[in-house]
């Protein structure tokens, strides 16, 4: 019991020291410097590209997938250069900020909504019209028949 209680505080102290050192390292490399770096290098280019693209197309995945991929790659490269682990909390916050600004009103089911192709749209329009005409013919025929007695 005495032996263990004697060993524990030393182990705790060692653990604390390791944590503090690694925290210092991460703060120095992957803290505000990292954030500043990705904003200056990656976000600026992304902003320029998205502004060239019309705002209405921001929710269109085909148009933005390349830009988004470039942004992601850029944050990865900066992290590697600075010796940070990727992904990390700063990158998460960064992307939440990007999503909130550019993609906040895209629909949940997919990005931009689009009509189905004509071979599906066609029947959806033609069938109600045909059913209407049929129903009208039916009503005319029935009212003609019920009107047999003068």
């Amino acid at each position: 019991m005495e032996l263990r209680s004697g060993a524990d505080p030393r182990r705790n102290a060692l653990l604390c020291l390791v944590l503090v050192v690694s925290h210092c390292v991460s703060v120095l490399g992957c803290g505000p410097h990292y954030q500043h770096a990705i904003e200056e290098f990656c976000l600026a280019k992304f902003k320029l590209d998205m502004h060239e693209l019309d705002q209405r197309h921001w929710c269109n995945w085909e148009d933005t997938v390349e830009l988004y991929g470039e942004l992601t790659n850029c944050t990865y490269l900066v992290a590697v250069k600075m010796g940070c682990f990727w992904p990390n909390q700063l990158v998460d916050e960064f992307f939440i900020h990007v999503h909130r600004h550019y993609f906040h009103d895209c629909s949940l089911s997919g990005r931009l909504l689009r009509d189905p192709p004509n071979r599906i749209l066609g029947p959806f329009i033609v069938v109600p019209i045909l059913v209407t005409l049929l129903m009208t013919a039916l009503v005319v025929w029935r009212s003609k028949r019920s009107e047999g007695i003068v």
Binding site: L113, D115, P116, F124, P128, V131, S143, V150
Partner: protein, 320 residues
Amino acid sequence: MAIVGHALSIASLLISLAIFFYFRSLSCQRITLHKNLFCSYVLNSALTIMYLAGVVNDPELVRRNPVGCKVLHFFHMYMFGCTYFWMLCEGIYLHTLIVVAVFAEEQHLHWYYLLGWGFPLVPASIHAVARKTYFDDNCWMSAETQLLYAIHGPIVAALLVNLFFLLNIIRVLVTKLRDTHRAESNMYMKAVRATLILVPLLGIQFVILPWRPENRLAGEVYEYVMHVLMHYQGLLVATIFCFFNGEVQAALKRQWMQYKMQWGQRRKDHCSMRSTSYTATSITEVPAFMYHHDCNSEHLNGRHTDDSELVALKTGETYA
């Protein structure tokens, strides 16, 4: 501003319905169809007001996207269809009455009720299914989708069929019946004229909708006209079918005369001059405007003299 149009429409339609229900003498099968048509317009305007005020003006609700707003949209589309299909019922009724079986009125209205109230569920349901599967935006508010043609297509088809029927009626009235049944054809020409004015008015919004002019002044005029055509429809229908109807006007005038004489009678009784009351009551017995009736006058229970032409028809005179 659209809400103002719909509110005015509801007011005028409710007044017309009150007139139709109060004056029992007016009621016949065509008026029954008018009552159903007016009911569908009232419900349509009410749902449109609910949709505009509750959903379109509330971006927070649209962002939350509850199921209720899609259900409201579904019912809105259903009532929108109902109004046009009741107009079609009016056209089919007149067509059956005039062209198919000459002026004999006892049709079974069940099929008309089915077409007017039941059938619009079909395009509304098809649109709802298609929208949910392929274009499920928030509250289904977007008008950019071609899936809306699942509702507009049948409506335009109904309007075209209606127009065709009405033109056919005009053709028959003018060519075949002019010589043999002049009084009747005059009578029914007025009925058809009212419907024939309304159908293009209701339909023209679909024709000119895609063609907004580029010119600024013409664009303003276009917006104004479209606004009136789309949101004041109930008012137009009530005016043309009820307020401009000769028989309704006659009934209202009779009622007004009765009230005036009752007040006058009370005053005169109070002054104890009773001799005037006998001359006053005789005025109400004047038969009113026999040839301006839209309904078959035999339903007015013998208030009119001399329906010899109608009697001749009734005794089995048919025509090819």
